[in-house]
């Protein structure tokens, strides 16, 4: 049997786990393979070759962040009169949409340094794995509850690249550091966003069905990221599957 989630990862000593801890624990149970693939990606012997495809795939996801948050805010506002959770979520969605504004533009500027035409990046259809990852959030937002979006963000902002790893990538691949500017910025930003999200989760009036939806949303994103990283790190093939 392969390795299983261990005490190193599951180290909360609290007697009763809150909503954020429940979600983080659920993610930790699912993420050993994702962690392995993340390591494989950063140390990939052909990282320089696959990096443009990586940035294009990442852009396909990042460009959806603000529209997704705005849609979630609209949905929460529409439900707010009869749904206390939706009412409590609305300010978070609005604020976080502001915080995420133009991050996709930063990435386009980074890609231009590698010779990727921003217009071509915008025109490129999203890979199916990215569309599946983001599309599910719209489904759950519209047909279940907008709180589902927080499950995806718990994964997507939950473990950003580390500065030391990015430095190693630059040194080993010769990629210009400026082309990793957006990654470096998020190495600083996302830990704060993760803490903000945990605080919000622990103050929301979450019923068991909401917690379950958060878990499903997060687990779906973990699965999709595993598929994306398997595609990007597949030997001699960076094409969409």
């Amino acid at each position: 049997m392969g390795a299983v989630a261990s005490a190193r990862a599951l180290d909360s000593p609290t007697a009763a786990l809150g909503s954020s801890a429940r979600l983080r624990l659920t993610i930790q149970l699912a993420e050993p393979r994702l962690n392995q693939l993340s390591r494989r990606f950063w140390t990939h012997p052909e990282l320089r070759r696959i990096f443009p495809e990586y940035l294009l795939t990442l852009y396909a996801s990042m460009r959806t962040t603000v529209p997704l948050l705005e849609a979630a805010a609209d949905r929460a506002r529409a439900m707010a009169d009869t749904d206390p959770l939706a009412a409590a979520l609305h300010p978070y969605f609005v604020q976080h949409a502001r915080e995420e504004l133009h991050h996709d533009d930063w990435l386009l500027e980074d890609m231009a340094l590698l010779g990727i035409d921003p217009a071509a990046a915008r025109a490129r259809p999203a890979p199916a794995d990215v569309a599946q990852m983001i599309g599910a959030q719209y489904y759950w937002m519209l047909y279940a509850h907008p709180v589902a979006v927080l499950g995806s963000f718990a994964v997507l902002e939950g473990s950003p690249p580390e500065v030391e790893v990015l430095d190693q990538v630059v040194a080993r691949t010769g990629l210009p550091k400026a082309a990793l500017r957006t990654l470096y910025k998020h190495a600083q930003l996302d830990p704060y966003h993760r803490d903000d999200l945990d605080h919000v989760l622990d103050t929301l009036p979450l019923a068991p069905e909401h917690q379950a939806l958060l878990g499903l949303s997060a687990l779906h994103v973990v699965d999709q990221l595993i598929g994306i990283l398997e595609r990007l790190t597949a030997p001699n093939d960076t094409s969409e599957t």
Partner: protein, 65 residues
């Protein structure tokens, strides 16, 4: 006599998702609140990847918002 239903922790341990000896009582209690859908998803994810080792520090995920 009816067979006693397995707990989530027992099901996940049997599937190789977790090692219950490394979990605190609060963590076990929390895992036992997961829904069937969540548990099935975790087991399915584990089964799809086969044998693997946790390996070195991942260095963060190559994903941001």
């Amino acid at each position: 006599m009816a067979k006693q239903r397995q707990s989530n922790v027992e099901r996940l341990e049997a599937a190789g998702v977790l090692d219950s000896t490394s979990l605190s009582p609060a963590q076990k209690n929390t895992i036992n609140t997961l829904t069937d859908a969540e548990v099935q998803h975790l087991i399915s994810t584990r089964q799809k990847v086969g044998d693997y080792s946790e390996g070195a520090h991942p260095g963060g995920r190559p994903w941001i918002l």
